[in-house]
């Protein structure tokens, strides 16, 4: 539904853009009053106004203005492969909507955006070569040093944007996030699925007594935690690291950090050692001849020894000055 809504909106937007694009370019010289009413008109339709190069110059560069504009410069086209832009856009839309539907909505502040593919000249005129960038265009004069939001330090959460806007314009925007039901919905779905499954199988609840599935469930929690998935969840590290030469690093260089792919490797290593340990034990109870038992025991031992030494060498590469290794350097 959400996607359909967005699609609808963007279609509408395209239509509007074409329409207004034609109408605005015709009259070159517009008064300030005209511009404000035009902006009001747009922002009442869509909280974030989409600008191209011409409109950017007309509404943000021309003087006099009596309105502030918070501009997001971004690259949303899929071929630009800007994952951050998408998140930034979501946050920006949230704050724009909060402003649009708050009771202090006025013509003092507008939210606008320029997509790289629609206004490359804007990027070059502002000397920007990265996206996303948030710039505040004050009512008087040009943007100063502090008018570019420092997203590297504070991030681009809507709350931070609101703080930034309050700093620059003295307009306090209370963030209203559309409540996120997806987590709750997923939980409800999961529970109803389980309940449904139990109900369907109510005559045959044997599977609840299946120790193997319970054991696997417990082990997966343990593996997830011991490999630092919680750290990933809280810190949000990159999946892997690609340096300038195009080499890919799967393992983080220091013991203080880790990449997501690295934790997956650790899960596999941990699980392999555990499987090896179980094999070592099951070899004894197997109903097979001695040769097979022997092979199984040796496989178990090999798995434990090999993967453990692999894990140790990964650890060694991360922890500077660690002296010990086993089988593999």
């Amino acid at each position: 539904m959400d996607v359909a809504k967005k699609l609808c909106f963007s279609l509408l937007l395209v239509v509007l853009l074409v329409h207004y694009g034609n109408s605005t370019t015709k009259k070159k010289e517009t008064t300030m009053g005209d511009r404000v009413s035009q902006l009001m008109d747009w922002s009442s339709r869509k909280s974030v106004i989409r600008l191209n190069g011409d409109k950017f110059r007309m509404y943000l560069k021309s003087t006099p203005r009596n309105y502030s504009v918070v501009l997001m410069l971004t690259a949303l086209q899929p071929q630009r492969q800007c994952a951050v832009c998408k998140q930034a856009n979501d946050e920006f839309t949230i704050i724009a909507n909060s402003w649009r539907y708050s009771n202090q909505f006025s013509n003092k502040l507008f939210f606008a955006m320029v997509d790289f593919d629609e206004g490359q000249d804007v990027f070059s005129s502002l000397k920007l070569n990265s996206a996303p960038v948030f710039i505040h265009f004050p009512a008087k004069g040009k943007p100063k040093k502090g008018d570019t939001m420092d997203i590297h330090r504070v991030g681009f959460a809507a709350e931070q944007l609101s703080k930034f806007i309050a700093e620059r314009t003295d307009i306090q925007i209370r963030i209203f996030r559309p409540p996120n039901y997806s987590g709750t919905l997923a939980l409800v779905l999961l529970f109803s699925l389980i309940a449904g499954l139990l109900y369907l199988k109510r005559n045959n609840l044997e599977f609840l007594y299946n120790k193997t599935s319970w054991a696997i469930a417990a082990l997966s929690i343990i593996f997830a935690m011991t490999s630092g998935q919680m750290w990933n969840h809280i810190r949000g590290p990159p999946f892997m690291h690609k340096n300038q030469q195009g080499q890919v690093a799967y393992i983080h260089g220091s013991s203080q950090g880790q990449f997501i792919v690295e934790t997956y490797i650790v899960i596999i290593l941990n699980a392999a050692i555990c499987v090896g340990m179980v094999l070592l034990n099951e070899a004894q109870h197997m109903k097979a001849d001695a040769g097979k038992k022997r092979i199984m025991a040796l496989i178990g031992l090999g798995t434990v020894a090999f993967f453990f030494s692999l894990l140790l060498s990964v650890f060694r590469s991360k922890y500077q000055g660690y002296p010990y290794s086993f089988l593999i350097k």
């Binding site: 319970w214 941990n270 453990f308």
Partner: protein, 778 residues
């Protein structure tokens, strides 16, 4: 560790196997205790018998106070030397178990006429308790699995770095004794569940009481045991034994835990304890239903059951919601809340987020602290689930919950460590049991012995044994001695690697007192940097007894413990706004800071500065946290972004932000540092920690003066000057200002304070009569 396996051979060959068994057990356990004790002594041997770090200093000070006075004085102790001007009610805000333990050891020793200084007892308390922990773990594992596994577990816990990190000699902290209490409580609980005796249940409650008095982590027990009972109910394993054990434990444990002043009525009021109460009610409901089931017919019971379930669930839910809403039951406290909603602390509580112990855990720290155990213990979980019974449910639940908490917070690795040791011991012991047995000389003696020894009540055990017996004939053509010995040797090598790793980690990572630092020269000579104690001793000797010292909260306990002076904030971070005030003073410019320091009545300011020796844990590196905490309370005056360069970097050199280069912390750290040239390759004022030349070399202090700087500049103390005797007038409305009115000879009547009809005195003439008479009339 090999002893555990070889005992089978010995047992076969000798006539009195029971005697040998206990001898070997005793020998292994005592060796584990000795190894555990001695591997914790690195710091004592390298440096001296000294209390470490920060929190232990407070514990030591409190213990010293208790020994010097008496127990009741200690409980009523109001410490006016902390949190000036608020003070701190120590008796009501500490877990007294630690102090009472070492105090009573001291008391017993002095009764026996053995004079030991209380400091030595405090230093060696944690290593001593590590031995007791090993014993408790042995008994716990023995109840869960076999005595052999117990010995493995005892050996593991004795040397595992995850536990050593909190229990080296000198780290006199709650955790040192709490892990023993934790394991002992769990052992008694398992015993109570197995026997169903009130005796064991009551002992569990007693041990739980000791745990409550020792450490805030007791909440883990009071949630894990009810969870165990709840899961057993779900599994249909309800029995009289569990009913008796839990009720005895819960009732006695709750009443006992409320005797600790710091805990008080929390067990009845806070959400953390509600699960235990809920399970208590549920257990009774379940027992009641079982009773009703015996009375009613089947169809009647079904309706009754449904009705009862719905009614009970609704009632409990309404009651909890209502009580929480009415404010009787407090919602979760911030620290616990941050365990569930992992992003919570980062956003809302900088003081929690700033502590490095509260960070999430990387896989490296898991491996660093537990080495091979972290890889092997899932296999132990696997075996436990495959051969499940009542008490193994407990260890599985323990493992799964503790591993989650350890993933969220580094410091909770401590609670995970014992269970990892137990489960890894189970996995190893099971493997060794298989591969150490000699196939060829199999006797039935051993098996009968085992059956006699172990009085298992559970259904699993006999089944398992039967299967083994069926397999026996096939064992004869089993794996073969060569392969078996290869496997054993390989596993033993890994275990040896584990032991070596533990020693290395203990020696390199966990044995620094952090009060005394050591640096090593190129030729391997050791250089002791004793600046901290030098500075605190200076404070103790050269300042007024009532002097107030302002420093960042990390050093509060040390100033109070070693310097014996009043501090404003300390490591017991209970008052965030007070800390923010100090942070604000540190991050303001000198004039603004002086106003705050006047308000807070500060006499001395103490900063830690590592730029000379390259010590990275100094105040400049912590400075951003001060700014952040100050910004949280005073967002108008302090802004974090002011302390960064336009590029968003935190720099102390000349390109750093002006606000940073003129704030109090910067000035105090780098005062006169610009004149100091450390060596000829670097310019004067070169900061070795940050690796830059400082940006503001010409620092002048107006309201403070340097009082003392230690040998390596690590600690710098400044005296806050009193108000100067005469303030130069700068304001227009002060009295000291010159009067505005100008005199002129011509309009002398407008002179201030002049008489209206003052007689004009003309030189050479007498005053006129008119004025004379008038003055008489008046």
């Amino acid at each position: 560790m090999a002893d555990t396996g070889s005992k089978t051979d010995i047992r076969n060959s000798l006539t009195k196997p029971a005697g040998w068994l206990s001898l070997v057990t005793f020998a292994v356990l005592s060796l584990a205790c000795v190894a555990g004790f001695s591997s914790r002594l690195f710091a004592v041997i390298r440096f001296e018998s000294i209390i470490h770090e920060f929190d232990p200093w407070f514990n030591y000070r409190a213990t010293h106070h208790m020994v010097a006075t008496n127990f009741y004085d200690f409980l009523n102790w109001f410490d006016e030397r902390a949190w000036y001007p608020l003070g701190r009610i120590v008796g009501g805000t500490v877990y007294p178990g630690l102090m009472v333990t070492s105090g009573s050891i001291h008391y017993v020793l002095s009764l026996l006429n053995i004079p030991v200084h209380i400091r030595d007892i405090c230093v060696f308390l944690a290593p001593m308790f590590s031995g007791l922990t090993a014993l408790a773990t042995y008994f716990f594992t023995k109840e869960l699995w076999t005595p052999g596994a117990g010995l493995f577990a005892a050996c593991f816990i004795a040397i595992v770095p995850g536990y050593i990190s909190r229990s080296v000699a000198g780290s006199y902290d709650n955790e040192g004794i709490a892990i023993f209490a934790l394991m002992f409580t769990y052992y008694l609980w398992i015993k109570a569940v197995k026997t169903g005796a009130i005796f064991w249940g009551a002992l569990t409650a007693l041990s739980y009481f000791y745990m409550v008095s020792a450490w805030g982590g007791y909440v883990f027990i009071i949630n894990l045991i009810p969870l165990h009972v709840f899961v057993l109910l779900l599994m249909g394993r309800f029995s009289r034994r569990i009913y008796v054990a839990y009720n005895t434990f819960y009732i006695l444990g709750t009443i006992l835990s409320m005797q600790v002043p710091f805990v008080g009525f929390q067990p009845l009021k806070t959400s953390e304890h509600m699960a235990a109460a809920g399970v208590f009610a549920l257990l009774h409901a379940y027992a009641f239903l079982q009773y009703v089931q015996g009375v009613l017919t089947k169809s009647e019971f079904r309706y009754f059951f449904l009705f009862a379930i719905v009614a009970a669930a609704g009632l409990v839910f309404l009651a909890v919601v209502g009580l929480t809403w009415a404010g009787v039951v407090a919602p979760w406290s911030g620290r616990f809340y941050s365990l569930w909603d992992t992003g919570y602390a980062k956003i809302h509580i900088p003081i929690i987020a700033s502590v490095s112990e509260h960070q999430p855990t990387t896989w490296v720290s898991f491996f660093f602290d537990l080495h091979i155990l972290i890889c092997v213990f899932p296999a132990g979980v696997w075996f436990c689930i495959k051969n499940i019974n009542d008490e193994r449910v407990f260890i599985v639940l323990y493992a799964v919950s503790a591993v989650y908490f350890a993933g969220v917070m580094v410091r909770l690795m401590l609670t995970l460590t014992p269970c990892v040791c137990v489960l890894a011991a189970i996995a190893f012991s099971k493997t060794f049991e298989i591969y150490l047995k000699d196939d060829t000389t199999k006797s039935n003696v051993e098996e009968e012995k085992q059956e006699k020894n172990s009085q298992y009540y559970d259904k699993v055990q006999p089944g398992k044994k039967q299967r083994i017996r069926e397999d026996r004939p096939k064992d004869a053509e089993g794996i073969g001695m060569n392969i078996k010995s290869i496997i054993i040797i390989c596993l033993l090598m890994m275990l040896m690697l584990f032991a070596v790793h533990c020693t290395w980690v203990t020696s390199n990572a966990y044995s620094s007192p952090s009060i005394v630092l050591a640096s090593y020269g190129n030729d391997g000579t050791r250089n002791i940097l004793d600046d901290f104690r030098e500075a605190y001793y200076w404070l103790r000797q050269n300042t007024d007894d009532k002097a107030r010292v302002m420093s960042w909260w990390d050093y509060g306990y040390q100033i109070a413990g070693m310097g014996n002076r009043t501090t404003l904030v300390d490591n017991n971070t209970w008052n965030n706004s007070h800390i923010a005030m100090v942070g604000k003073a540190m991050s303001s410019n000198e004039t603004a800071a002086y106003d705050i320091m006047r308000l807070l009545d500060v006499n001395y300011v103490l900063v830690i500065f590592g730029g000379v020796i390259g010590y990275s844990g100094d105040d400049i590196n912590k400075f951003l946290w001060m700014v952040r905490i100050a910004e949280g309370e005073h967002p108008r005056d302090i802004k974090e972004s002011d302390y960064f360069t336009p590029q968003g970097e935190f720099r102390v050199d000349s390109s750093g932000s002006k606000t940073l280069l003129n704030c109090l912390m910067y000035k105090l750290s780098y005062y006169r540092f610009g004149e100091l040239q450390l060596d000829f390759r670097t310019p004067p004022g070169y900061d070795r920690t940050r690796g830059v030349e400082i940006g503001n070399k010409n620092i002048k202090l107006t309201h403070l003066e340097e009082a003392y700087t230690t040998e390596h500049w690590l600690v710098r103390i400044y005296r806050v000057k009193d108000l100067s005797n005469r303030i130069e007038a700068t304001f227009s409305d002060t009295k000291a200002k010159k009067p505005k009115v100008k005199y002129s000879r011509k309009t002398s009547k407008k002179k201030r304070g002049s008489l209206k009809h003052k007689p004009k005195v003309v030189p050479g003439k007498k005053p006129t009569k008119k004025t004379k008479t008038k003055s008489k009339k008046n």
